[in-house]
Symmetry: C2
Subunit: 331 residues, 2 copies
Amino acid sequence: MSDLARRVLKGDRIAISKTISAIENREYNWVELLRDLFSYTGHAFVIGITGPPGTGKSSLVDRLAKVFRSKGSKVAILAVDPTSPVSGGAILGDRVRMIDHSLDSGVYIRSMASRGDEGGLSRAARNAIRVLDAAGNDLVIAETVGIGQAEVEIVQVADLVVVVLMPELGDEVQAIKAGLMEIGDIFVVNKSDLPGADKVIYNLQTILSSRGVWKQVAIKVSAKTGEGIEDLVSFIEKYRSGYVGSEAAKRRKLKSLSEELIRNVGFVLSENAEYVLRSRQELNEVVSKVANRQLDPESATKLLLKSLSPQELELDNDQGKERGKKRKATR
Amino acid sequence: MSDLARRVLKGDRIAISKTISAIENREYNWVELLRDLFSYTGHAFVIGITGPPGTGKSSLVDRLAKVFRSKGSKVAILAVDPTSPVSGGAILGDRVRMIDHSLDSGVYIRSMASRGDEGGLSRAARNAIRVLDAAGNDLVIAETVGIGQAEVEIVQVADLVVVVLMPELGDEVQAIKAGLMEIGDIFVVNKSDLPGADKVIYNLQTILSSRGVWKQVAIKVSAKTGEGIEDLVSFIEKYRSGYVGSEAAKRRKLKSLSEELIRNVGFVLSENAEYVLRSRQELNEVVSKVANRQLDPESATKLLLKSLSPQELELDNDQGKERGKKRKATR
């Protein structure tokens, strides 16, 4: 085991930060680091917090971290910022609010942002949660905006998913909400001082009770005033005590791992294909033909697909790892 | 050429709908339909309209379609609904507002929603735009919420991207906005009756003028009252007359096609890998090993990757097409 991994296991904050950065940037040692740490995971309870933009997830995470901290838990927060699809430059402004935690050595906070590559972010975030787990945290809170597939993938790694909603969501946000209804274990209506909070709770309870099987709950909270936070914490603890070690937990873990591995394979294949195609003159020739309408886009896709070799996709040897290094270096 | 494709070229609305559905569901004839129609594309001017949730894009598209229609243009609207990542059940409620268009045979409206598969949606939407182009529309307006990579991919196929913002956007939405700044040609501040509209315009103009190169503009509009809509239309027409046939247009088209083909290849690879892995007992065995911490997730990914054959990924023969059919049928 590397010295860095050893320091992570002891909870060394600098080592944790370095390791997560290595994973994020896929530095030469990232796979080895993960391999070293992975066998030490499984201690932390992972809470995924998600919801539409603007529902006050960060303030809520703030509140929760403080309560769990006061109960003696070692808490880590992983804030995965909205994917800024082109620039990759997510604004981490509201994280500044969390600075007061950082003075408390029992709360570790880390932000991760997309670099225009959602699949990569999701993979890195899931591995960062593992690092925070191996580092001895009792609770890892992963927070993300629930708007895209990648974000949902991130919270699906969690033992418990809290979906944060608020009154007065517009039509489009309602559609986002519809997608989130299926992944939440606990639904929170934040900003409960706004008009309409009771109606949202009523609607949620109607939807949830019509399902029957799952013991999902809807709670009204205000991260601003603290209203309902204790209720939320006790629901989380109740859920946790029934969940840890249960058959449902095992099934959920297997399902989540299975989806993760499938997505990882797809991600590596896509990335290798992209790297190979971009380095070839053939791409431009095919693109020109499509632009001149001598070739349609789907036939062109097939043509490019067939031009790839198993070696280039890392199907059957170890060149890929070396190429990965070179690729990184030339960025 | 199939009879269906021939009817699309004549602008037959039922044929257009059938063809887009065939593409969306990847029915047995979708590639052939696209191949038939592709050589007839290139007539339509494609406007992509995007922006954070709740900024009133649909109402604006409504207004624009009416103005262009009144000028005699044949207009098609493709509304790509928010990706509901798990359920796939996007709420198309606000499309109901558009019903008044549907009585006008000069405006064709089509909604597409994700089925939990963003890459697939993006690919289908880009091909649907081609169908609407081949069908003889002068203007195709593709509308989508600008929150994820897939949505941005959709509008990047456009000749002109209009980014719709509004005053009073929260922190997280600001981050989304940051990503959209780089893809917009025209920036619109909708809901100009809300306080702060002038400030948003001022900020936008400051950012845009600091760039210099692009002739991007920021316009204040109200889709509700109609304020600024004529200005927006005249900016669009000015842009269009400078753009069509220009070197910039050619470069943009080549770039967009190149990115599309690369993504298509990655998408087909990921999908084939997923199909193959899910059908194998080996996946469960590897997942169990990871769950028991005998194997780490990245080594497991590599193991699964190496288990795939070139044939299974459609690298070197035509079995894939047949498998695609079977796959569809067993869903």
